[in-house]
Symmetry: C4
Subunit: 205 residues, 4 copies
């Protein structure tokens, strides 16, 4: 890291970081299925009891997949490797690596209040790391008009996600499902391009 | 995802999706072996009792490997990244990620009827996602004559696979092995190029 | 696979097969460490009891690493994708994917005779698949003089490996450690370039 | 490996080794999270008891991430594939693959003296392999002035890391936390570019 400031790397270095991130995300998304232990006893009834674990898996798979898609889009604007890029990205990957843990906990605890808190924490931490990564790429990445519009829209959505996740913590006191709804709302917000919610935030931001 | 419609990405974007898919498929195909727990007791007899788990592993390995080969071929015709491509592919990967679960269940339940149903479901779900992916690439991919012939042949085979898997569910009522045979038939159908079965479907389709 | 005969793919297709193989081999070599369960009780004495599991891990790591190096070298001579290349390579990866299982068995059974047989079987199966892959690349790959010399030397070594592994089965009847020695001899044979053993085989072959 | 001396491979070969290393490191860094087993019982108190396992995970994630960053930097100076490059790199990956084991042991044994020794051993072994890899790349890699300054600074830091890890063993006799501090100091030393510690070593070296 000695010379990271003095000798920034270009597209090749960015490409290797992307490839490494893809590897880590691919593993995260796939090892979660190892928590889906098939029942030892026979019968459909035994299978049906797995629904909370399965639901948690579906939610987390969608969540990590959406991250991959957005990470992919964000990195297409990166122009050089800096310490900020390296470490904000590593923090994001670390935060995402906690998702299999919180997913497993959510499923096994049948969406209990504590499990929802842990789950929301592992949604909020990657969102904060992503906010940092966005600001690094905004500062050091491509500066075309399209890129700048992308940075603005992306920062608005990121801020909204951070707020909604944070709101999930007190809302879980009323009902754990309200907390989970916050995670679902953010997923929907990031999934659908140019949604009404997005336009609402554009007017507010 | 904001600008996915207005600013479609070309070959570079397709390449990154392929690489990510390869990573996920490589992990799926490899972690299945973690379900092959060696027996704690000594002796060949103990090893032999593992045969259903081993057979299920062989079947699923072949199944996922055939998917990789066909995914590879299909993606060679893709020309641009769209939301349809991204999400049909993500759904396919999700569906394939359930295979280690159903494989483990199939092996541990010694090919019971319920386990065969779950297994067939994790064959049918990827097949449906693949059908969606095929239609996306047919609509947005390369339009050369070779590509179009490939789309037609591939769609025929995909439709046949969907039908055979579906037929497996009632057939399992007669015998679970009939249900498993359906999975084997589809594998053979996709494995052998220009087989008689393929030609039969070409005449019917 | 419909058009694999009529429309062989070039370097790009070979590259994707290599990348997929690297992914699978990287996962195989790494998940073996998951079998190294740390002891629950305190104390160095408890750790020391892990030696057979650790020794089996070291042996298998070296074994898979040597495969990766040789696979890398062999593929540098491949020129086109054929069904033979795809499926001999998939069989090789399948065979290698059994190594974590046999390694775990070898370690847990403290190098018992049965475990050595299973281990040798998971050495012999990849060696046979590699022999098939070698013959495919010899027939369809580059035909320069350097390549042809490589094919000849590589085939000789492969044949020697197959013979030594096979000899390990009866030798294990005398002592399991004799069987394991066969695996070690092959590793040494492939590890050291232009060794005396290699020259001996060159004269015999 | 027959012709590794006579026919060294260039940038393409180096690229494949980098990609393979990235794959292995991505898996190592991610499978460690599988040791973070969520508690079966309900309640925040149960979660809090996981702190040593979590702390060990954070430490090891940072450790492996720092290795990836430095491996990336070091390999950008590599110019050709040699047996030395291949095997020093394989030894490094092997040594890093033991980190999930020692991390799990450290967490489960609540940072006991024996666990700290094992952990320091899995810090020292990769550091020694990295020293070998550095000397191989120094001898066979790029020879520009920037590269040579990098080799010198990197070798100084590597030597310092080896010494500090070694010092950790006797220091653990006084307190296991002193031993862990050695691991943390090395991480800080490699993390911050051009730190005062680095300048101190530059004057001493």
């Amino acid at each position: 890291m000695d010379d990271a400031g003095g000798e920034p790397e270009g597209a090749a270095g960015v490409g290797r970081i992307e490839a490494f991130s893809d590897g880590v995300i691919a593993i995260i998304v796939t090892i979660m299925v190892l928590e889906l232990h098939p029942p030892v006893e026979k019968g459909i009834a035994q299978l049906v009891t797995l629904w909370p674990v399965f639901l948690a898996y579906v939610l987390s798979y969608a969540y990590v997949a959406i991250y991959w898609v957005n990470h992919h889009r964000l990195f297409s604007h990166a122009a050089q490797v800096s310490n900020g890029l390296l470490w904000s990205n590593m923090l994001l990957l670390f935060a995402l690596s906690l998702v299999p843990f919180s997913t497993s906990y959510l499923g096994e605890q049948h969406f209990s209040r504590e499990a929802v808190w842990v789950y929301l924490a592992t949604m909020l931490l990657p969102a904060l790391a992503y906010t940092w990564l966005q600001s690094v790429i905004k500062a050091t990445g491509k500066q075309s008009r399209v890129a700048q519009e992308y940075y603005a829209a992306s920062a608005r959505k990121g801020m909204a996600a951070n707020l909604i996740y944070t709101a999930g913590f007190p809302l879980s006191l009323a009902s754990p499902w309200l907390g989970i709804s916050c995670a679902v709302i953010v997923a929907v917000l990031w999934f659908f391009p140019r949604s009404r919610i997005d336009q609402l935030f554009a007017r507010l931001g």
